[in-house]
Subunit: 526 residues, 2 copies
């Protein structure tokens, strides 16, 4: 079978590859029949050339064209839903339903449509007008955006279909998508639809491009190339940090989503009030999708006591009895094995699990580990290393001071949850815990698990390093996620007919929110 083609400048082309690779079916451990190219630098260079040309053309086009593209693309995705679900299921072992077909696919098309609406309204760009000074500004496109998608959301975070893609396009930028090597076929199928939709909407030919893989060196060269505007990356910490270093050196914005253990604190009153329910909630959240969520609760913080002992027994039993899911790939199994080993080496005790296999294909036993807060404080670096998958570490503190000390020693995380009694008996502890946790996490939750990430304007799927690369931005939630892929563009004394329509006196469609002389308004100026 021929090697699959890459999408460059609107055309599917033979790749100038330096090699090829195949994905595996994680349930059968069989390599796929499909062979995908590893692009050479000269191919990256061609992609960059096309993207740079598209970026120039896009600046001349009304945002309406991009909005229509995003909507048309969403329709086309729905048109081949069954096929996408089949391919993704084969490549990732994620359940076809409800996960892929009924949750992730609608989320993906929903994001594309929300991004379309945001592009059309332009309110995302925070247009700001100072009539007295004659100065006006807004966020404008940044240039070609490289998107590196993760392995765990082949649709909703896919490099040519997910949140970064939608945000980058809606902000007026071309996208250079780099497929995740574990689901190249899924990405290719999306790219076909994206390219068709782009053609129908007459987008510049380099707006949507796809390559599958590069060498590490070429990846680093790509994100630092002068023609690039910025990068969105979701994936492993190690690879992400290499890209970050390259982008930082070139002064190019890079938005990373790296690793997060997502601490969950369950206070004594909550445990005595609804311990059984909370055990169920935790086990479901932690084992859902075989634990392969960015916001998977991987660290549970508890205060020592009888209720805690009962809680740990309950979740141990649940972890023991729950079916073992298939992991996304061989490397996820390897990394999970290594991650659990690292926790044990740092003094964590195995309560349940800790053996490879046990499920269909690549898998690892549902694993629960435990450590004292004192042990955690002695080895806090090792004991907060992410073990991505169906494993969690329980840390038990003897008192509230130990508990807050553990929190103070956490790195940045995407989320932090606190469960407390409904009747106020935990409130004094809650206040301390939440105060210490707040600066460590992007999203603070009460009485719910972190695995749901609503596509909401108020969402923060972000957080301090190393959860992400910049604590001021979110990867999920529209319009805020668009602002990552933009530069601030100010017009000082620029003659009115030369201003972009969004900044002219007349609100172009009467619906754009603009900050005019200190007040948000949809009105015309004057």
């Amino acid at each position: 079978m021929a090697v699959h083609q890459v999408l460059i400048g609107g055309e599917w082309r033979e790749s100038k590859s330096t090699g090829t690779f195949r994905a595996e079916n994680p349930r059968t451990k069989e390599p796929s029949a499909d062979e995908f190219p590893i692009s050479s630098w000269s191919e990256c260079d061609e992609v960059l050339k096309q993207a740079a040309a598209a970026a120039v053309e896009l600046r001349r086009l009304p945002a309406e064209v991009l909005a229509r593209f995003l909507e048309r693309y969403a329709e086309r995705i729905e048109g081949c839903k069954q096929e996408l679900v089949e391919i993704a299921h084969t490549e990732t072992a994620l359940p076809k339903a409800p996960r892929l077909a009924d949750v992730e696919l609608p989320r993906t098309t929903g994001q594309l449509r929300q991004a379309a609406a945001a592009a059309r309204s332009a309110s995302w760009s925070l247009p700001t007008i100072d009539t007295a000074a004659g100065i006006r500004s807004m966020l404008g496109p940044l240039g070609p955006i490289c998107v590196f998608g993760p392995n765990n959301f082949p649709f909703a975070f896919g490099s040519i279909s997910g949140g970064d893609f939608a945000a980058a396009i809606a902000a007026g930028n071309p996208v250079i998508a780099k497929a995740n090597s574990s689901h190249p076929g899924t990405t290719r199928r999306f790219a076909q639809e994206a390219n068709q939709a782009a053609g129908e909407c007459e987008l510049p030919s380099g707006t949507v491009q796809l390559i599958y893989r590069t060498s590490h060196e070429d990846g680093e060269r790509l994100v630092g190339d002068p023609r690039v505007g910025g990068t969105g990356y979701t994936g492993s910490r190690h690879a992400g940090l290499r890209l970050k270093e390259a982008a930082d050196r070139a002064g190019k914005p890079i938005y990373l989503e790296l690793s997060s253990v997502n601490p969950v604190v369950i206070l004594p009153g909550a445990l005595s009030e609804r311990g059984e329910e909370l055990a169920q909630q935790f086990s479901s959240s932690c084992l859902m999708g075989t634990g392969q969520f960015c916001t998977n609760p991987g660290l549970v913080l508890l205060l020592a006591g009888t209720e805690t002992t009962t809680f740990v027994e309950r979740i141990s039993a649940q972890f023991e009895s729950a079916p073992v899911g298939t992991l996304l790939s061989k490397s996820v199994e390897q990394n999970l094995t290594r991650g659990v080993r690292g926790l044990i080496d740092a003094g964590a005790e195995v309560l349940v699990g800790n053996s490879a296999g046990g499920g269909q294909g690549y898998s690892f036993a549902n694993t629960l580990l435990s450590a004292s807060a004192r042990q955690f404080l002695r080895h806090n670096v090792e004991l907060q290393a992410e073990a991505f998958g169906n494993a969690a570490l329980i840390v038990i503190a003897e008192n509230v001071d130990e508990l807050t000390a553990v929190i103070d020693h956490l790195e940045g995380n995407l989320t932090g949850c606190v469960y407390s009694a409904t009747q106020g008996t935990d409130d004094a502890i809650y206040e301390k815990v939440a105060f210490h946790l707040r600066p460590k996490v992007g999203r603070l939750l009460n009485d719910k698990m972190p695995t749901g990430v609503a596509v909401s304007a108020a969402m923060n799927h972000g957080g301090p390093f190393p959860a992400t690369g910049h604590p001021g931005f979110t990867a999920v939630g529209i319009p805020a996620s668009l602002r990552r892929f933009a530069m601030l563009q100010c017009y000082d004394g620029v003659r009115s007919h030369r201003l972009p329509p969004v900044l002219r006196d007349k609100n172009p469609n009467g619906t754009i929110w603009r900050f005019i002389d200190g007040a948000w308004s949809k009105a015309d100026v004057g």
Copy 2:
């Protein structure tokens, strides 16, 4: 005379120094009698400890306390205005009036008061509420902010008085100020007033701290320290890039303002219409403050022609006859000498100047250089290197294509200006030029020089790398400049009485703009 003390934890203390330094009077080249300490790492560590403790305390205080501090500080600055002007004049040679007393000082107190108003209103934090999803978010404090001020604005960009200081404090963060070594006495005098005001307002004792200098290594360690939230730096590209690398490695936001040549394009119609006036405007802007502005117009792009020849003759005569100002320091003279030499080595022709001295103390002749666009394109890296001070390079293009090619080869800049005929004869060229210039600059101006930087909500004093470290943020203009020193904090399902007041249903003072269910509003929720 004793070595001056450092301000740590609310007290003036003997420094644990590794050495001392003195500033020079740039007009007399005499070292100052005042001796300042170079702080050791153990001193930096103590500063960090105090700042981290203050950051925790500040999170418990209402923003009103910070607002009152900023206002009280502004009053105190006005109370010792004459003294500040005297010291700064001695250390920088900047004119006492109008520059220091009538322009920069009111700008400084104005910024502090605007920051106070922003802190009080909280609208800067973009509170966002999704009532259906039960998710609410806002920008919150980032943690201790290191501020490195530049040499050229001892008041308005001073590390303990300027825009970064005001923005960092108003966003709820302590500041660790590192004085610029060329005006430590001015910075010390500000710090005395800041510390008094902080005491009067009962701020946590580590909110406002000052050290004067560290080794390069300790500076890098400082900006990457886990206790630091982020950094604001304005200064030389070389030192800034070293700090950026250290901060990036630690995943700490750093906002830099590095170098910018601020291209000015003057189109033929404008020249024939008002060439004499434009020559005057350019020469004034370029020589004002001896050219030592971040937004100094250092690169003039012209189309070949008779009018251009006349224009160049006019500005040459003006540069020749204008008095030669004093530069801020010996190193500015050295760097300017080296910078002009670099331009000449890259093929620029000297029209006027190119000799050290000629003014009182540290100085360099007003210098004009010229190169063809073709020469520029051959040596674009060298010919766009900033020669900070009273020097500019004129680049003459044979046609519009050459002109836009030169623009395409520019790095990121803070500003770009285009002058065109009032009657539309330049409009076709304008469109091309502005289109190519737009992505290269943070602020695009029409028919005015870039040296005025209004403190406006719509201002962008920022731009693509290497003008700054992130193209999405501005260093001047409130409220946007506050957002640099903040992290996005989301509350998901958090019980309503536990939300920060800004995110509760009731708008706490009825004046905060909040984005509620897709609409900006000052109303309460529900």
